[in-house]
Amino acid sequence: MKRLSSRLIGVVFLLWAVFTLTFFLSRFAPGNPFQGDRKLPPEIMANLLAYYHLDRPLGVQYLEALRHALLGDFGGSFKNPGLSVNEMIARALPVSLTLGGVALLESLVFALIIGMGIALCGARTSAFLKTFATSLVALPSFLLATVMIAVFSSKLGLLPPALWEGWRSLILPSLSMSLAPAGYLARVFATSLEETRSSPFYQAARGHGIASRFLLFRHLIAPSLNGVVSILGPLGASLLTGSFVVESIFAIPGLGRVFVLSVMNRDYPLIMGTTMVYTVLLAVMTLAGDFLVERVDPRIRAL
């Protein structure tokens, strides 16, 4: 319990640090959100700045923003008048969560299949699968996405190239996000499978002549899962937040696209809102991952 409370204090500190960094980084950036292609008359600019409280001293702005953020209010978006940051996040977050969740599930399934293949197949297939998994890790998601759109949407016309309409539009984006982590996870899983196979308890179980299916699942696969599980937290976090590349490509109205647009538009409240949501997600996923490891592996719980 003491560990949990100290971890929570760490999370609070993290949130504050990220808030402060993001605030000052975005305020010290040259230009302001209302400098567009058309030059505004100075009076209008002054009015706009005053309306959004951007004419006040930076320290006052910071404390004001911090006070509101503590109450869970990130204010209104600069570039989408009439929409609050909270509304925009509430609309976009479920989309990103769905996409990230599906991608996480896919990468797990692929990783378990490929990992078993590496560990249990013959030497030749195993070597091939190993190279395959390693190569998957090197595939950038934005490249996978564009190439898959080129092949499956433009050329073959099988799947929609963009937008968020039904399960068919989930396939390409989730695949382009999940293949690289799948390769990495597969390597991790295969390594722990091989370790388990040479461990004394597995050899003993085998020597006892335990039925092969029970042996496979109970004595080989289950003890080998902890490596995979310990990555799930950070991986889930990176899939949820890393979707901003893929969402921009597929024009999916998720949090990632909101984030990229907010950065391009210098929409301060929106940048702050999305960054904080990301940070919370990351912290929660990392914490959840660590506790999951303890639940799955009694050896760690005993420590």
């Binding site: 975005s26 595939l139 759109i149 050329k155 950065v263 940070t279």
Partner: protein, 270 residues
């Protein structure tokens, strides 16, 4: 047998393409613009197919030579990747060495800062930093360096702690060697192999970061070309031609795959 042989052959081919990309990519700025100008537009040659005389890889939608654009883009992307790799490895290593060798409160504080930094994904940090730095190659290098040094720092600190426990370090401490001299004489030479391996991971990381940012329009901005902007343009031109996407995609893939296999080879105990 055929399976492994086939994949080994493919690997060799990909490696060969990578060597070509690196060689010509790094030599391209030596070519005079009269031979190869990535910005020269030829309205009669818009979207000419690969193999057109004078345009070996075809032309883009403005009639610019794909080969020239790919090569100048390779210079930018490889240069940024290399700079980010070297700088982030150095920065991370210095952080790790100072943190690990000093111990105590300094170590605690430096690790806390590292943890905050580590909690955020590389691209998120880089994107927010780019707000401050604007566009251009230098901005991208700085943003990605500060986005990606944390892994290096963590590994180097771990190694430093290991070195600190060695007997010769105790001897050195006992005769009162000043800390800076300890770092230069004892820690750095022992850390160099690890830093080499980390560098091999960081360079492709930098290349990937640059191309992703530029692809999204946050990094290098057109008309300057980099692999990221080229993929972006190729993606937009997809209804008209697949080639503009194919060339930079091949360059990125061969480069990243080669680095991946190289570091895998080094990681395997032989």
């Amino acid at each position: 047998m055929a399976l492994t042989k086939g994949s080994a052959g493919l690997r060799r081919l990909i490696f060969l393409v990578f060597v070509f990309v690196v060689f010509f990519g790094s030599a391209s700025f030596l070519l005079s613009p009269s031979v190869m100008n990535p910005q020269a537009q030829d309205a009669r040659q818009v979207l000419c197919p690969p193999g057109t005389p004078g345009h070996f890889l075809g032309c883009d939608f403005l009639g610019r030579d794909n080969l020239a654009r790919l090569l100048s883009g390779s210079t930018v992307s490889l240069g940024i990747g290399l700079s980010v790799g070297v700088l982030s490895t150095l920065f991370g290593a210095v952080w790790g060495v100072v943190s690990g060798s000093s111990g105590g409160v300094t170590d605690q504080v430096m690790m806390r800062i590292l943890e905050v930094w580590f909690a955020l994904p590389e691209l998120l940090i880089a994107t927010i930093l780019l707000l401050l730095l604007g566009h251009g190659a230098l901005a991208v290098v700085v943003a990605l360096t500060f986005g990606g040094w944390m892994g290096v720092a963590r590994v180097v600190r771990g190694e430093t702690l290991k070195i600190r426990e060695q007997l010769y370090m105790e001897a050195s401490r006992s005769i009162g060697t000043p800390p800076v001299r300890m770092i230069l004489r004892h820690f750095l030479p022992n850390l160099l192999p690890v830093m080499g391996v980390l560098l091999l991971f960081r360079i492709p990381g930098g290349i990937l970061g640059e191309s992703t940012l530029s692809f999204l329009g946050l990094g290098i901005s057109p008309p300057q070309s980099s692999w990221g902007t080229l993929v972006n343009e190729g993606f937009k031109a997809l209804p008209m031609t697949p080639w503009m996407l194919a060339w930079p995609a091949i360059a990125i893939l061969t480069t990243l795959l080669s680095f991946q296999w190289l570091s895998q080879k080094l990681g395997e105990p032989k």
